[in-house]
Assembly symmetry: C2
Homo-oligomer: 316 residues x 2
């Protein structure tokens, strides 16, 4: 069985994704090719590959396929997200739903999902696919999305419910990524569960830091987002905590409405970002401890910690 | 292993579907329960169960699960279809997208798909799942939908392209149903391919007869559809053939537009329905021959022929 260094594997993932998108039937190719424009840092693929590294620091072609498939599942969820959010831009590029219409975007998202599932079910060791339980994670992802949608503009959203939402919306696919990597490389069931938990924590950190950034970029006006989370009806932890600390501000939000400046001031006064970061720290320490408990080779441990640090925006 | 008579199995499929829908997490249950209202005759589930009957006329619990899952995949595609078609009603009931909005419907369709995949991947004999290749069929379904959407209002659509569209849009899931049933009951690879072909032919017949009915119900004004296929931009075989026979009528359609009455008259003059039925007959004979070549027990052969006849609307 051919084995790949991490760097070569990551390169191969990019190729697999591009091939899957550009070798699709002609009629759908144009739409899918458009998506390759707005590809990000592939942190989910990086997670699969890292979790799949063996004792010599190599990973198998199966890990590459699964990494590509999970990125495509992520892509599929973004395509449907953009319909739900009526978004025009993603990472500076026109969204599929804006460019080709919602109808085409619904089908393209469905097609991408089936494409990813096809890639995984065609693994050489087919049984691995069943252990990875991708459909379970897709369900969790959907339920997270739905839960967020239902709670759009809900100013009474509790911290508990919020944690549940992002646990599905964001953390589920990170969990799937680490879990899949561990299953592929043949880790024990006990260890696979540890990897899954690490993935969950990293996903939570990733989302909570994103939530903080939404306030920071507004304050610093470094990158001016078209609409803040709040303006889109998405109530995140820094503001939930602020409402909890300042019930009179929550009442004002319901009765009179609150401006972007008022929100930023209130979040600052209530230390909403500090509180959110303290939750991040809690997840960070749990993840760190779990990673260290796995007795990994130095390269793998470093890479796992590096993903953790990236999710916490501690390194670029 | 507990085995079920056909009747008991079909009853069980209904229960499995209802359980899957109503035992989903609370937040999505309301939407899914709404769907149980507009359940049809479950011809896909009937196909799976029939194809899965063994030499004694029994089928396994696995066949029941797969039958329920394929019906749920069909349901998922209907939910997304209704978004694409902006449909208000389906089988007399308000659609999900009309009642709860397109956003909710996008997510519910995704969730249903993941639910169906979960049901199949949890089969006792997991390897069966991989043989059934459900993701391949979902891809075909998506491509058929997309192809139809791209060719909406395309008056130059060729017969060849039309056959390709309905081969994905409708026939793919019928093919999957018969193929899955045969795989589950342990048929040889050669026979499984025969079952798949039978399913494909039946799906084609089902759709072509539906296309004919769209004209007939208009003419007879028995059930008046809100909008005919043509008014929705869907060009079907009877009209494609009519355009082919009457190029001047095709030109008129492009330049001046054509009314419902003119279409019906032209289709009648050109014998568009007769031509479509001749194609149906061709598929019918192929399917009949294949069914007879399988040397089935009388009960199973009768049931297979009965599905074929139902698809051709030869029996109620």
């Amino acid at each position: 069985m051919e084995m790949f260094t991490y760097e070569k594997a990551l390169e191969q993932v990019k190729q697999e994704i591009n091939q899957a998108l550009t070798r699709s039937p002609r009629m759908i190719r144009e739409y899918l090719t458009h998506l390759t424009l707005s590809q990000g840092k592939m942190i989910r693929a990086v997670s699969v590959l890292t979790a799949a590294l063996d004792q010599d620091g190599y990973c198998s072609y199966e890990a590459i396929r699964v990494a590509a498939a999970i990125e495509i599942i992520h892509l599929s969820s973004l395509v449907h997200d953009d319909i739900i959010d009526n978004a025009d831009l993603r990472r500076g590029h026109e969204t599929l739903q804006k460019k080709y219409g919602k109808r085409t975007a619904v089908i393209c998202g469905d097609y991408l999902l089936s494409l990813a599932l096809k890639m995984i079910t065609n693994l050489e060791h087919k049984n691995k696919y069943l252990e990875i339980q991708i459909p379970d994670y897709i369900s969790k992802l959907c339920l997270g999305e739905l839960n967020q949608h239902i709670n759009n503009h809900n100013l009474d959203l509790s911290m508990f419910d919020y944690i549940k939402i992002i646990g599905g919306k964001t953390a589920a696919l990170f969990e799937a990524s680490f879990f899949a990597g561990a299953v592929i490389t043949g880790e024990s069931q006990k260890n696979c569960k540890k990897y899954a938990k690490i993935g969950y924590y990293i996903g939570m950190i990733f989302q909570l830091m994103d939530d903080c950034m939404d306030f920071e970029t507004t304050v610093e006006t470094m990158k001016k987002p078209v609409q803040s989370d709040y303006e889109q009806g998405v109530i995140t932890l820094p503001l939930i905590y602020t409402f909890f600390q300042k019930p009179e501000f929550a009442r004002k939000a319901k009765v009179e409405g609150i401006s972007r400046n008022e929100i930023n001031q209130a979040v600052e006064d209530a230390k909403g970002l500090g509180y959110t970061r303290s939750i991040v720290t809690r997840y960070y320490k749990k993840a760190e401890k779990l990673i260290q408990s796995l007795s990994l080779i130095a390269e793998k441990e470093d890479k796992m910690l590096s993903i953790l640090n990236k999710s916490a925006r501690m390194i670029a």
